[in-house]
Each structure stands twice: as structure tokens, then as C-alpha cells.
């Protein structure tokens, strides 16, 4: 044993920390504001990467969940940033849901047109032309997320890739997710991705699968009113969230997911 300690001391004198076990700090959590979900997952982990996964084109309640989280955070005077790859965020829905829009930085990616480059321009000659090529919305989203993570100051950085095709997200190398996960570990912020499938894999601190939600319609009392389309209205979306992976709770507490109902403004 003595020789082992000597060897250890010799190795550590040359390579400090080489034999030290890497310990992750205990995660604090941000509550989502949905009691059923907070009981189930504990909240969105701080200093970790979180992914909400749901197939494209499916109403699952992921955006309502994100808006509820942003509502909770902005009401606590924390700043949030939303990188919107599909430019699908709706401020008119978010404000009544309690989001303080003055504390939300919105980055709208899309088919932006680069500034026109005249014939005689310094940038054209310096070879910046390639750098100024048109970026795809996915590239824009990752670049924006990178800038935000480097800058700091935001308690939540959400990247909405919900409208991006799954085959494009699959092309994102795992090292990208790993790098994001390691950078966010040292920051008092949550990094959240809305994706069509769990691309970040083991880099994610929390993976939440949202199943296809079940729409609820207003009560139709008799057969006559049932036939009248404007006598009924959409009354809510019954959503179900299931933990795919979590560093907060091991092992999983329940095979069943958390259920919650997202209610429209008029219901």
C-alpha cells in the first residue's frame, strides 16, 4: 500500500489531477411551474444540458412547457434567451402565459439575406466572402447558442430545433453536444434544446420525451350541438412527459410519465 501511495504521489507531482475522480457539482433546478412535472423530474437542471424530444409535426406540449419555464424564470427577474431556429415563437401567446418579454432575448433564425457586398469592398478583398455566406437555420442556431453560452448572463438558453428536419439534426457531431455540456457545467444557467429526437445522448443531464398529446374539446351535451362546429371549442391538450435520462434521479421512480393539461387562453 505504501508503494501505491508513493507511485500516486509521483504521478500527481508530474500530472496534477491525473488520478483525481472528476466529480460533477450537485445540480440546482429551475421549476417548470407545472406541479405534476416538477414532482416527476424535480425541475430543469442548472449547469446542465436538457433536451425535450418529440417528433416533428406532433402536438406534444413541448412549447407550452418551455413557455411555462420561461414564465417562471422571467417572473423571478432572470434573463432568458430563446434561439428560434424555425422562427415559430409566438409572443402574443407567451405574454398572456406570464412571460415577461422584456427579459427574453429572442434570436430568430431563418433564411436571412446577408448584407449586399459591393464590388469594391474591404471585406471582399480580405477573403471574408466565404465567411459571409448564407448559413442554414440550424447553423445559425448553433452559432447563436455558442455566442450566448460564451457571453453568459442568461439563466436559461433555450434552442428550439423543433421544426428542423430530423436528418439534419442527426448530422450534428456528438462532440458539439459534448462541448456544450462541458461549457454549461461551469455556468449558473440551463441549456435547453427542443429536438425531434434525443441527439445529445449521454451529454444531456435530462432527457424528456413528450408523447403525442390528446386534444380536449368543450363538452358537447347533446347530439344536436355536436354537429355544430362553432358551438364547441378546443379546450386543452393533455400532455404526457416521460424521463428518458436524468442525472438527478436514479433509478427512475416510475414507469409512467407525468401528465399535465395545457389549457388555451379562452378555455
Amino acid at each position: 500500500m505504501a508503494s501505491l501511495a508513493v507511485i500516486r504521489a509521483q504521478v500527481e507531482s508530474r500530472l496534477p489531477g491525473a488520478l483525481t475522480v472528476y466529480e460533477r457539482a450537485a445540480h440546482e433546478v429551475f421549476p417548470t411551474g407545472i406541479a405534476a412535472l416538477d414532482r416527476h423530474i424535480g425541475g430543469i437542471p442548472q449547469s446542465a444540458l436538457t433536451q425535450f424530444c418529440t417528433p416533428a409535426g406532433m402536438s406534444s406540449g413541448k412549447t407550452s412547457l418551455l413557455v411555462s419555464l420561461m414564465s417562471q424564470m422571467t417572473r423571478r427577474e432572470q434573463f432568458c434567451a430563446l434561439v428560434d431556429a424555425g422562427d415559430c415563437f409566438d409572443p402574443s401567446s407567451a405574454e398572456p402565459a406570464g412571460v415577461n418579454l422584456a427579459r427574453l432575448l429572442w434570436i430568430r433564425c431563418g433564411n436571412s439575406v446577408c448584407a449586399s457586398i459591393p464590388e469594391r469592398t474591404p471585406s471582399a478583398r480580405s477573403g471574408d466572402l466565404a465567411a459571409r455566406r448564407k448559413l442554414s437555420p440550424l447553423e445559425q442556431a448553433f452559432k447563436a447558442a455558442d455566442i450566448l453560452v460564451q457571453n453568459g448572463g442568461f439563466s436559461l438558453i433555450a434552442v428550439d430545433l423543433g421544426n428542423v428536419e430530423e436528418k439534419l439534426v442527426r448530422k450534428v457531431p456528438l462532440t458539439t453536444w459534448f462541448r456544450f455540456a462541458r461549457v454549461i457545467e461551469k455556468m449558473p444557467a440551463a441549456l435547453l434544446f427542443l429536438m425531434p429526437f434525443p441527439a445529445a445522448q449521454s451529454c444531456a443531464g435530462l432527457t424528456l420525451h413528450l408523447a403525442c398529446a390528446e386534444p380536449r374539446w368543450s363538452a358537447m351535451k347533446n347530439q344536436e350541438t355536436k354537429q355544430i362546429s362553432h358551438a364547441q371549442f378546443f379546450a386543452g391538450l393533455l400532455c404526457e412527459a416521460e424521463i428518458g435520462r436524468s442525472r438527478l434521479r436514479k433509478p427512475m421512480q416510475s414507469a409512467n410519465g407525468a401528465r399535465f393539461t395545457a389549457i388555451p387562453r379562452w378555455a
Binding site: F89, T121, A144, G153, P215
Partner: protein, 547 residues
Amino acid sequence: MLFGCIHVPDFPVQAALHMEMETESVSFKNNAIAVLDGPESLLKIFSCNEQARQAGIVIGMTKLQAEACPGVVLRRRMAELETAAQSDLLACAYGFSPRVESTAPGTVIFDLTGGERLLGSQPEIGKQLAASAEEFGFTANTALAANADAALHAARGFAGITVIADGLEALRLASLPVEVLEPAPEILDTLDSWGIRNFKSLAALPSVPLTQRLGQPGLHLQRLARGEVRRELVPAEPPPSFQESVELEESVELLEPLGFVINRLLHELISRLRERSLATDHLQLDLMLEIHCDHQLHSQNPQAPAADPAASPLPALHRRTLKLPVPTQDGKVLLKLLQLDLAGHPPPAPVKKVSVEVFPARVRTTQSGLFQPLAPEPAQLEITLARLRAAVGEKDDHDRDRVGFPTNTDSHRPDSFQVLARAEESTDAKRGRNRGGQQKEILECLPAPQLVLRRFRPPLAAYVECSPPAPAPSKSEIPAAVIFNGARAKVVHACGPWRSSGLWWDQSGRWQHDEWDVALSLNGVAGLYRIFRDAQSGQWFVEGMYD
């Protein structure tokens, strides 16, 4: 020691005439002029010249009373004109000495010690002073004395040129009325009650009893009347300039070397701001461009348009302006913002002259609380926003910012919002914040999250197959299938229509939608969508998906 003083009597009147004499050929110099000041409804005579006094004008007279005096020209007092006239007066004094004190509006004192060898004897200097003031358009009194205050009182009290020899101040000033000393009204009343009318009688009073009765101000007045006060001048400083420019020997074509030039200018300006404990939140960069016109090419090809520099489509000046939310003294932040801005808006031609101007502002002194939540540092946030704009673009097709803080506009039109570069808290949000804990409790007790819409921007054009009209009382056609994005989705459930419209008075801006909430089954995946029919065109669109 030798001090000179130029005093412009009735300065507001002369300042009002000063600009007119420069711009107009007609001179009002010999006219009776009175200057009015005060609120529009209560204008009173603030100052007047000798001719006006002779015409019956008295200080404090109302405008109506002044108009009753014949031949008097009335002018409104203008602070800008007085500032400009004072600058001219200072310029006049700087011609004689570098140490000039701007004592009062219309009065300057300057140090002429050692100036006799250059300017001549004291009476000659006095004449030169008067001539110089005349050249600048002022009718001024000038005085020279061994101490500044004696020169000042002589210029105020005696018309024309006055030269007081060293040691004879008390004797020379003896005849001046005590009002020239500008004492406080209560002291003036006291002196008047004692029968003290001029400098001589004030100077003759015993100092100790005078101090016992009037205090230190009384003693100071007596020393002034005796010409005994010797003080240092407080030199006037020219207004600081926060503009730096450099003309380049060789025009710069690349942004990187241009950054070095700008950095040098910014460094100078920031250090100048720091010396004065100032910061800046507004910066302007002017780049003079070198635009060549190839005359030889034009002569070879006569059909080509004339190469006239004036007709060149490229402007010769490329101007960029930066406005920050908070003042900063950080040159690196300003440089980075300028570099990012120039990368987005590069000058269209090589740069031959660079000019940077910063507008000073007070340094930000607020400090955020220790227990406040994490928030981006304002100056750093500006750089982040500039980088984000470079990554995703500045504006969309509707000329709305791509990066910023969203805010809903006061309209029922769907998807009407603005994106602001600076966060502006709405009144509702402020009110909610003021409620504090109560609001938090309400939020925490909310039974369910609110459902939101994921919008398609722009709305997706769709073809909708409708079922036959339902029997009464509905009579409306119900969507049965929606074809969009190249796929056909069967409508599982539909409710609607709900009509919304607005701007019916505006031909171009009016809108009218019949909205439906439909549950669609597309490739085995269920989605809940909002679709609408544009009543004007009859075209169907998918507005968004509830999620």
C-alpha cells in the same frame, strides 16, 4: 503683476446685436434696444442700452409698457447668442494673454504680466484692447491694474480706457459707487443707511467695527474698495473636443488595418474622457472614401456614361453611428462594436480619412444588488447582440429585427409584434413585478400551463377540402382534409369558424380571417393546427400548430 479687464456694458443687448451685425448689413448700433426675458406671458425688460434708457426704458418694465416708448427696438433674450458673444470676448482676450478668466457674462480678466515688452506701455495696451474689442464688434470698457479685482471694478465703473498704477488703486477707485462691488442686497441697504455711497467712504471705515457689524463679507468688500485683494485667476478652459481624425497616406482597403487606425483614435478619445471622469454612449464614425473615376476609360469608350465625380453613385462619406444603452469607458467594447458593425456594413470603397467622434455622458454610477439574479452586463450584451446579428442577419422580410426583445403591438392582427434592440418593460409587467410575492404565489398555484401556438412564418398556403354544408342551424362548410407542405392530412375534428378582422378603413392594410381549430392526422401523427381562410382572397393558410 499686471491684469487687464474687458467689460462689455449692457452685455445682453450687445450680444443680441452682435450676431445681427455679422449677418445683416443694417446696423442697430445707434438705435434704442431693449432685451426682454421671462415667460411668454410675462415678458419684462432685462437689459437695455443708453439710448433706450434715454427713451424711457427701465429695467423690469413689462413688454406692454416698453412698447409704449417710441423708437425702441425690442429683442428676446437668447442664451445661445450670449454664449457665442462670450466666446468671441474670450477669443479677443486670448489675443493678449494665454491666461484668461471668464469672470462673468460680458467680463473677462487676463494676466498681462510681462506683456509690456511685447505690447508696449500700459496706455498703449489699453488702446490695443479697446481696438481689439471694437474689431470683435463690442463697445467695451477696458482697464489695467496691478490686481485683478481693481481692474475689474475700474472696467465696470469707468467708461473707456482706464490705467491704474500699482499702489494707487484705492485713490483711483475712490469715486466709484459701492454698487460696482455688487454686494448682497442686505449689505447694500446697511451701507446705504450708514450713508456709505462710494469706495472712498467704505475704505475709510475702521475694519474691526465693520467686521463686527457686517462680518467677513463686509471686510472683503472694504478690501476690494481699497484695492488690496490679490487673487489668482481661474483660467477659462476651452470646451473639450472629443473628436479625432486621421488622414491616411495610403487609402485602406481592408477592415483589419482599418481596425488598428480606429483603435488608436478611440484610445485617444477614451483617455480624454477618463481625464474628465466622463464616458460615452454615442459614437460616430466617419470614413471618407476614395472614389476613383476613370477618365481614360471614358475617353476610350465614349458610349460609357460620363465619369463625373458628382454623378458617382457611391457617396464620398460612409457614416456609422453607435448608440449604447449605458455609457462606457471601455475602448475594447467600442472597438469590437465598430468592427462588427463595419463587417455588416462595409464601406463601399477604400478609406482615405477616418474620423471618430464620441459624445460625452456621465459615468454610470448605479451598482446592482448583491442578491439580484444573474443578468447580462449591458456593454457586453451590446457586443453579444452585434455578434448575433452578424450570425442570423439584422432584419426579416417585414423589416423586423431578427435579434432583440419582443413586444406585442396594440393590434388584433395575428402575428403583430415588434422586436426591440433594448428591453422595454411593459406597464403590465411592471405592475406584476410591483405586486412581488403575491404574483409569485399566484403563478405557483396555477393549475395548468397555458397552451401556446407555434407559428409558421409566413403562414403556409394550404388547400382545404370541405365537407358538404351541415344542416341548419350551422350551414357552414366544415374542413374535411387539409393539403399543405405536399401532404394530405385528414381532419379528425374541427371547430370554428371564428371571424376576426381589422383595419376595414384601410384599403391596403385591411384583413379578415375565418379561423378554424382542426385536429389533423398526418402520416399517423396527430397534430392540432390553427388554419384560416382569408376572406378577401379566399385562400386557405395554416397559421400554426398548438403545442
